[in-house]
């Protein structure tokens, strides 16, 4: 089983409780079997033949939001997501994945996104089709923005142009990383291979991702998929914070920023978004109580479709963190957070939209 390749992680997690208080799902559900310790013990028990690897163990391994809070909290740097994703691959190989996961796979293979949208937003398509398909700087819009938040693409482009950058873009549709997270390794690899070939054909030196999930998986292609990209991968905030910005309009509102799991915990990028925000003259910035790598996790779009009740609780908790700051606006790095927080009635903007509003 692939699970056993992640033995170092579950061996060290199986009897360790030290991250329980930060485990997002275990905190939401208060369910003992959702703690990293319990999942590690289940993995070990499977190895020893104490537990059969059945649909119940598989289900348990899917009930994780992959926020990596456990890993970032761990003094030993052990990572439960390593054995959880391995177990998901085994579940897929043995046909043990829950029905909701199979449906999501079909959606991802069909549409390339979790929303089951086969058409991208018209505004987005119009904007993207005007960009060259080759260039030094290549924008990757990801799997949320073209369907749910096209304004972020527009804002991204406006700011870059104001800085004198004329990027290229490709009309990528993948779902590869989501498939990877669900344990569909072969399907994920095929999807990502196609994307990688398109990126390579664009001849870019720097890939700028507008969303955060892509910042992670494109940087880790080699580890995750055995693929290589020669171009450097940066999140939009990292790239823009390295540019000379034009004179920006002053803003006086109090703002805060939500560090999403992919950018903060997976990539360790926490300064660049703040640098972008603080570049706005007059900006009053207040971090939430839980920020950076310790920010309370919000659900990925994928997890929202997997376990919507837990995802709702995660969002509610983060919204409470936001309200405690008394900030006027919540700025997000991940597009899905901007979408979800707006759905909750919060004034949320992406980092790109915030900077664009100061142009």
């Amino acid at each position: 089983m692939e699970l056993f390749n992640a033995k170092v992680h579950y061996d060290n997690c199986r009897f360790c409780w030290m991250c329980r208080q930060v485990c997002t799902v275990a905190t939401m559900t208060s369910d003992e079997s959702h703690s990293p310790r319990s999942r590690g013990m289940a993995a070990f028990a499977v190895e020893k033949g104490i537990l059969p690897f059945d649909e119940h163990v598989a289900q348990n391994m899917y009930e994780c939001c992959l926020c990596k809070y456990c890993n970032s909290w761990c003094e030993g740097d052990y990572d439960p997501t390593e054995f959880i994703i391995a177990a998901r691959r085994d579940a897929v190989a043995q046909g043990l994945e829950p029905a909701v996961i199979r449906r999501l796979k079909d959606t991802l293979l069909n549409a390339g996104n979790v929303f089951d949208c086969t058409e991208k937003d018209e505004e987005f398509t119009r904007l993207w089709s005007r960009l060259p398909s080759r260039g030094d700087i290549l924008l990757i819009a990801g799997s949320i923005i073209p369907y749910r938040a096209p304004k972020i693409a527009e804002a991204s482009l406006s700011v870059l142009r104001a800085c004198g950058v004329e990027p290229a873009a490709i009309d990528e549709t993948t779902g590869g990383f989501e498939l990877y997270c669900l344990g569909y390794a072969d399907e994920a690899r095929r999807a990502v291979e196609k994307l990688t070939a398109e990126i390579a054909a664009a001849g870019a030196k720097t890939i700028v991702t507008l969303d955060t999930q892509e910042r992670y998986f494109l940087s880790e292609l080699s580890k995750l998929f055995g693929l290589e990209l020669t171009a450097k991968v940066l999140h939009w905030s990292e790239y823009v914070s390295s540019l000379k910005l034009p004179q920006l309009k002053a803003k006086s509102e109090l703002v805060t920023y939500h560090d999403d799991s992919f950018l903060a915990r997976y990539c360790g990028v926490t300064d660049a978004p703040r640098a972008c925000i603080k570049a706005v003259p007059g900006c009053k910035y207040q971090d939430m109580l839980w920020f950076g790598e310790e920010a309370h996790a919000t659900p990925s779009a994928l997890f929202q479709f997997m376990y919507p009740n837990i995802a709702d609780q995660m969002l509610t908790r983060r919204a409470k963190d936001y309200f405690k700051t008394q900030a006027d606006t919540l700025i997000t790095g991940a597009a899905i957070d901007r979408v979800n927080m707006r759905d909750m009635g919060i004034k949320a903007v992406s980092i790109q939209e915030y900077l664009e509003s100061a142009l």
């Binding site: 329980r20 369910d31 104490i50 537990l51």
Partner: protein, 489 residues
């Protein structure tokens, strides 16, 4: 052997037994279908706690003792309903908080129902006039802390298990935290509590902990490890954040000198927040390893004070003077701060003790005139076992004595692969060391509790006095359904 046998329904045959299925339906009616678990993937994590024996058992590929089902009540009334069902059918009930105890206290060794309290995790009231907080007992202590920290308060109960253990769990086994020397153990922090008795009745202790209205009911249930009932709600003290907290560390030539320095600080009534002193082997094994700093051979001692700065400055000055009289090196405040920052790091892998070693924490407490002798007697006894070493630190200090957090570690090469043989060796070490401790004025435990691990030593420790505890147990739980196999019951 249990004091009296449980006459229980054989729920283990649940899947083949319609009566068992009917009882499960009653439990589902009591707590909701979504709060009853019957799958092995849910039972497994409730069958292993921090105790070495079940961990080793699983490590050797052996199936641990599963509960027959796990329930997650959300209210006291639901706990009461579960207890009435269990009492009626005489089914064993094991309360489960974080399951992070090291004594096997939460293990469902006779099967039955595990009552996992973690869904009873609400903060009910922060009373800033009385400086108390009332919360459901299943709240994880760190969550309770975080809830009140940004309001300017702390429970000051900060054990290494803070992230995983629950408020009820600490009360059930008389837990203690790193700041206990000033703020007390959990039994000093309890104000009042609500308890569900084995028959399902819900009772409350008196609203204040100091009175002359008879024996203290709080202290019947604190430390009873769920053998007398289930703590469902507790009111404990809270403290405003101190203006400052300062630390200083010293290195002494040996443990005798550092122990004496700690005693003098306590005798001077300087009220340190914490004193922690490590013997020479643990100074090397833990301090150097975790800090990544090479120290001279010796015994490491760190102390801290908190409160108003002016007072803390004075306390620090006096404590430094005491230590400087005999220490070989003043490591300064930076080293002390580093210790404070890393205080939980010792318990993460790879820094913590773990299999394939055999290990155990035999923490004890004794008066100052006896504690050093107990250390040497236990060390000598322990190290007679091949491949076994003994390390200790002294964590919780009182006016009259201090607690010794002593551990034995058996090198993997000397731990039998056969689990039965491993248990035999393990029990021999425990029995001989604890007996030496008792014979020289110590007690079987200071803050980890008794549980399954030390239950068999309770009669030996208490002698005829154990009949008082047994009578109390029999009166409240005549069928021994509450956490059977623990505390010597």
């Amino acid at each position: 052997m249990p004091a009296h046998a449980v006459n229980k329904i054989n729920m283990a045959e649940l899947n083949h037994n319609y009566r068992g299925r009917m009882i499960i339906s009653e439990l589902e009616d009591a707590v909701g279908i979504q709060n009853v678990r019957l799958l092995d993937v849910d039972k497994l994590p409730h069958s292993v706690d921090y105790y070495w024996i079940p961990r080793m058992w699983v490590d050797r590929g052996k199936k641990p003792v599963y509960p027959d089902c796990v329930v997650y009540p959300e209210t006291t009334e639901q706990v009461s309903k579960v207890m009435r069902i269990a009492s009626h059918y005489r089914i064993p009930v094991t309360p489960w908080g974080g399951g992070s105890g090291s004594q096997g206290g939460a293990l469902p060794v006779e099967g039955g129902i595990v009552v996992d309290l973690k869904r009873m995790n609400k903060v009910l009231e922060l009373n800033t006039k009385a400086n108390t907080i009332t919360a459901q007992a299943g709240i994880i202590q760190q969550h309770l802390e975080w809830e009140i920290n940004d309001k300017g308060y702390s429970t000051m109960h900060l054990p290494a298990s803070i992230g995983c253990a629950t408020l009820g769990g600490y009360l059930a086994h008389r837990g203690t935290g790193v700041l206990s020397t000033k703020y007390g153990k959990i039994e000093d922090m309890i104000v009042s509590m609500e308890v569900v008795l084995p028959n399902g009745d819900i009772i409350n202790t008196l609203p204040v902990p100091r009175n002359a209205a008879g024996p203290d009911l709080n202290q019947f249930f604190v430390g009873a490890e769920g053998t007398l009932g289930i703590i469902t709600t507790a009111t404990v003290k809270v403290f405003e954040h101190p203006e400052c907290r300062m630390f200083n560390a010293f290195l002494f030539k040996n443990m005798h000198d550092s122990l004496e320095a700690g005693r003098l600080i306590m005798n001077a009534r300087l009220q340190p927040t914490v004193i922690r002193m490590y013997d020479e082997p643990e100074t090397i094994h833990q301090i150097e390893r975790v800090f990544g700093t090479k120290l001279e051979k010796g015994s490491f001692l760190v102390f801290g004070f908190d409160g108003e700065k002016e007072i803390v400055d004075y306390q620090m000055k006096k404590a430094v003077e005491i230590c400087e009289a005999t220490a070989i090196q003043n490591l300064g405040s930076k080293f002390g701060e580093q210790w404070w920052k890393n205080k939980y790091k010792f318990y993460f892998p790879p820094y913590c003790l773990d299999l394939p070693q055999a290990y155990g924490t035999m923490d004890t407490v004794a008066t100052y005139d006896k504690i050093e002798n107990i250390y040497w007697k236990m060390k000598t006894t322990c190290e007679q076992f091949p491949g076994t070493r003994f390390i200790a630190h002294f964590s919780h200090w009182y006016d009259w004595g201090c607690m010794m957090y002593d551990r034995f570690i058996v090198d993997p090469a000397f731990v039998p692969e056969d689990p039965d043989e491993a248990i035999r060796l393990y029990q021999q070490i425990w029995t001989e060391c604890i007996r030496v401790c008792l014979d020289n004025g110590g007690v079987i435990n200071e803050h980890h509790g008794v549980g399954l691990k030390l239950g068999y030593m309770m009669q030996e420790q208490y002698g005829p006095a154990f009949q008082v505890l047994s009578a109390l147990k029999k009166a409240l739980d005549p069928y021994n359904i509450m956490n059977p196999g623990k505390m010597g019951f």
